[in-house]
Amino acid sequence: MLIEIVDGPIAADAIVAAMKAGGDGAVCVFDGIVRDNTRGRKTLYLDYEAYREMALEQMHRLASDAVAKFGVRDVAVVHRLGRLMIGETSVLIVVASAHRAAAFDACRWLIDTLKKTVPIWKKETFADGAVWADGEPFPEALAAHPGGGSA
């Protein structure tokens, strides 16, 4: 499994190519890129920060869980930190599997779970200001005060 937090560009094509093996019938790729607007507000760039050590550990656990839960052969999860411009890859998830259904399911589960549980934050800088993204409430099982996140 390739699990990394990087500070420079993610070489998506090379990572996807390296993930393919003879027994695979499907490689599902999620390439998360920086969009040029949020609800019509023009975005200039994003800055990603992380609690790096914990984020890496959580990403390793997610990848292991995905393999166990969906029965896929291999998983790559790479997240970039620092300033990213429009169109650049912030997160890359690659799932290799004998069959497509498991690959799709695992890939979707990985990005959805990563967004809720891996301690990475982003600041959006717009043409007319900047905000730290609100983030999603923690899943019930992880919240310090269960029930508090939905308030």
Partner: protein, 83 residues
């Protein structure tokens, strides 16, 4: 940990997750000397689409609220808790 904070502080506290030694933990966990404690605001990594909750006003930096500090409390009297 204290739950005395009210109003905005209370809301802030309830939105946080606590990590001890880089694992999510409940607020009632007993800390030991040398534990690494982090208060985590809601995370927002991943790709650049995050639902319908954009706050247009500028806000205090969430990431700057991240606290990662070695716990160096006077835990000597709690030696029986150390495993």
């Amino acid at each position: 940990m204290s739950e005395e904070a009210g109003g905005a502080d209370e809301q802030l506290w309830r939105s946080l997750a606590v990590a001890v030694n880089r694992e999510y933990a409940s607020a009632s966990i007993v800390l030991h000397d040398g534990d690494e404690v982090a208060l985590l605001p809601p995370v927002s990594g991943g790709y650049c689409a995050r639902g319908e909750k954009l706050a247009l006003q500028a806000k205090t930096s969430w990431a700057q609220a991240l606290l990662v500090r070695k716990f160096r409390g006077k835990m000597n009297e709690r030696d029986d808790d150390v495993d």
